[in-house]
Amino acid sequence: MENIYFKVSNLTTSYKDFSIKEIDFDLSSGDMLGLIGKSGSGKSTLIKTVIGLKKPKTGTISFYINDKKVPVENNVGYSSQENSLFPFLTLKENIMVYGKLMGLKKSEILERKRILLAKFKLENDENKKIVEFSGGMAKRADIIVTLLHNPAIIILDEPFNGLDFMLTRFLWEQIKDLAKEGKIIIVSSHFLTAIQKNCNKIGFISEGHFYNHNEMLARMKQRNLSSLQELFVE
């Protein structure tokens, strides 16, 4: 298992006239960061900045695999709120296209496809177009493609929106398995209980500030709060 380390220092990012300042956190292999905040607080903006889709105003993002600094972009798997797949292509075709775009060999793609389809229980649906998928199937398909190149960091932006309880639980299981494999997971969600339960680290964005796990714990301890819901309500 690789030793992965991801550090964000003093990062400031913005979207239109709104910005999030002093973002500081670090994650290691197996860490799961739950990113919480109100709608429009800037979770997606932060994620886009972390994966390189947006340039930060200030700060640094560092990524190390086995103590060797590597670019984030090549090692990140990102699943956006909406499914990022070609809707009129079959799942198999989506896998092949993205596999090729990510620079994988055909044999590697086929191997990864076999593993991931089995893992996410979509073996029998690979020849269906994405438009023919249900919401849950589409999300699973999206995560399959996200994991196709076996990224070290997996970022899932609101992955549970519109999913039923069973599927949400299934997905959490899969995510945790990935963390157990030594991947770094960043999940943004409004499901605070599930975040608190499944993630070992939490990041909270409120009014342009990012509170990392330690700050969150200190804040909850200071205010004698026991759950994230209480913090959120406050």
Binding site: I51, G52, L53, P71, E73, N74, V76, Y78, S79, S80, E82, N83, S84, L85, F86, P87, F88, L89, E93, N94, M96, V97, Y98, K100, L101, M102, G103, K129, V145, T146
Partner: protein, 584 residues
């Protein structure tokens, strides 16, 4: 290489996305093919629709020929008054009202609806050429009659020529006779004058002899008388001697007296004779003088006759001149006779020689075997095919413009708005592959209807697309690329589907206008015309025209191709810049 390996799957994905979306297939493939089909079908092979025009004429005006000639493209409707026709024209039921009046000549007044400019000029030209044709026929008719009359002219000239020749001969004979007569008179006059001179001399001789005879008579008479006086003396002496002797003296004396008396008688008679002679000679002299003056008069008159004769001789040159003039007149008549009535009716033959005529493909002739020969000619080499052919490159490039611009906008916006884009953005090095994938996918989608149109042009309209395949492909690829890039540029710039569609339509209208399809470039103002000329569609059309109609070599198309390449390069750079700025 890595860029290409990324581009190919993206192109494939874009194409599959396009093909599997029935809406896009309908809107960007089937609909354009349908539109193209209906567009070409609108150019009916049976020609133009017949257009109604009204005719108003007086009872006595014969219009059958006029109407028959116009019936090819026009339907003529008769009206009683111009007002009736004009009322129908204002209701858009008639395109023109032709009022035909006749007094000594025909007067045709054409009232046309100039709000329908595109069609009306065709009608005006048709009416004009019909009238020109009739005018020509009438002129031929009248000229033929005139020329028939002119044909009798030379007969009269020949008669005058004969009369003049006779007159000429008569004058020659007359003048010659006068010359001879004058000569004879002159020699006669000389003889008379010589005779008169001789007579004059003789009269003078007679006169001098008469005078000499008078003086001799006086001398001889005096001498005789003196001798007689002497004899008388002797007689006296004898008388004095008395008888016998006195008898003798008396006889002598009476004889001498008798002699004297005789001498005196003779003298008187001689004098009287001499006087008579002198009187006669005087009369002769008088006659001689009269003759002399007559001779002078004759000589003067002869001189006058001579001068008249000279005049006559000179006047004879007028006859010659008149004959020469008649020869010229005859030649002039013969020239007039040589003129054909058609030459008079239509002295300036305006011949229109089109520089481009389509070849007839034997396969096509075979295909139309069951049709009438006229129809085959009309279809294959006639106006219909020709008008199709000449407009085809422009239509082709308009179709290229429409389809490639709309398709690329659609494909580009599909990419921008695709959920897949969010993930694609996370993959490193996707800037150029995403650009080229849209470009290639749009171009490939565009190629399908364009190839269909090109094949239509090649096999139905007989344009040599296949013969010049590689240059045609080069021109089409360049123009498709430019329009695809324009569509991509608009989409990158706006990013919004509805707005992009609107802007694309406005842009197409703008391009349509500047392609010279609505208003010919030659009729635009200087600056817009310059802009329009340098529009890629027009540069492409120009190149295709040169290639397809006049089989120009690549060297003459070089400037068009280079211009298109420059535009493509500049546009490509601009679109990449927009893509970068807009973070797509």
């Amino acid at each position: 290489m890595r860029k290409i390996t990324k581009t190919i799957p993206l192109v494939s994905a874009s194409l599959k996305e396009f093909v599997r979306n029935w809406k896009s297939v309908c809107m960007l493939l089937l609909l354009p093919l349908l539109i193209i089909g209906s567009f070409f079908a609108s150019f009916s092979t049976s020609g133009l629709q017949k257009i109604p025009v009204g005719i108003i004429s007086q009872q006595d005006v014969e219009l059958e020929e006029f109407e028959n000639l116009l019936s090819g493209i026009l339907i003529t409707n008769k009206f009683d008054t111009l007002e009736d026709c004009m009322e129908e024209l204002r209701k858009y039921n008639q395109y023109a009202c032709i009022d035909v009046k006749k007094d000594r000549t025909y007067r045709i007044e054409m009232n046309y609806d100039n709000t329908r400019t595109l069609v009306i000029w065709g009608i005006i030209n048709q009416v004009k050429s019909t009238i020109d044709y009739i005018k020509k026929q009438k002129t031929i008719e009248v000229t033929s009659k005139i020329l028939e009359q002119v044909e009798t002219g030379p007969q009269y000239i020949d008669e005058i020529q004969n009369d003049l020749a006779a007159l000429d001969n008569a004058l020659t004979v007359q003048t010659r006779n006068i010359d001879n007569s004058v000569q004879i008179i002159n020699s006669g006059l000389i003889s008379i004058e010589t005779g008169l001179d001789s007579l004059n001399t003789r009269v003078s001789n007679i006169n001098s002899k008469v005078y000499s005879l008078g003086s001799d008579k006086v001398v001889y008479s005096n001498s005789i008388k003196s001798s007689l006086n002497t004899i008388d003396g002797y007689g006296n002496q004898l008388i004095a001697l008395g008888p016998p002797s006195s008898q003798y003296g008396t006889s002598v004396k009476s004889n001498t007296n008798l002699i004297k008396s005789n001498i005196n008688n003779y003298d008187s008679k001689v004098d009287s004779a001499a006087n008579n002679i002198l009187l006669e000679t005087n009369q002769i002299s008088l006659v001689e003088n009269t003759m002399d003056s007559s001779s002078s008069e004759i000589r003067r008159k002869v001189s006058e006759i001579q001068s008249i004769n000279w005049d006559l001789k000179n006047k004879k040159t007028y006859v010659g001149q008149a004959r020469d003039d008649l020869d010229i007149l005859e030649e002039y008549f013969s020239k007039i006779e040589g003129i054909s009535p058609e030459e008079v009716a239509d002295p300036i033959k305006l011949s229109f020689q089109p520089t481009y005529l389509p070849d007839i493909n034997p396969d096509i002739i075979r295909r139309f075997q069951d049709k009438e020969q006229d129809e085959i000619t009309r279809l294959i080499k006639g106006e219909t095919l020709l008008s199709f052919q000449v407009i085809f490159p422009k239509i082709l490039l308009l179709i290229v413009m429409f389809i490639s611009l709309l398709t690329s906008s659609f494909v580009c916006l599909n990419y921008i708005k695709s959920p897949a884009t969010a993930r694609l953005k996370t993959i490193k090095g996707m800037f150029f592959p995403s650009f080229f994938s849209i470009y290639i996918a749009s171009s490939l989608i565009t190629l399908i209807p364009i190839v269909a149109v090109v094949l239509l042009g090649n096999f139905l309209f007989l344009l040599p697309f296949v013969e010049n395949l590689w240059i045609v492909c080069l021109i089409l690829i360049l123009t498709i690329s430019i329009n695809v890039l324009l569509g991509m540029g608009v989409s990158y710039l706006i990013k919004d589907k509805t707005l992009t569609l609107l802007v694309s339509i406005f842009m197409l209208l703008f391009l349509l206008f500047f392609s010279g399809f609505i208003l010919p470039i030659e009729r635009m103002g200087a600056s817009p015309a310059k802009i329009a000329t340098n529009f890629p569609g027009n540069i492409g059309t120009d190149a295709l025209n040169k290639l397809l109609f006049y089989d120009q070599p690549f060297s003459s198309l070089k400037i068009n191709i280079i211009s298109l390449m420059i535009i493509l390069f500049l546009l490509c750079s601009l679109i990449l810049f927009i893509k970068k700025i807009r973070e797509i």
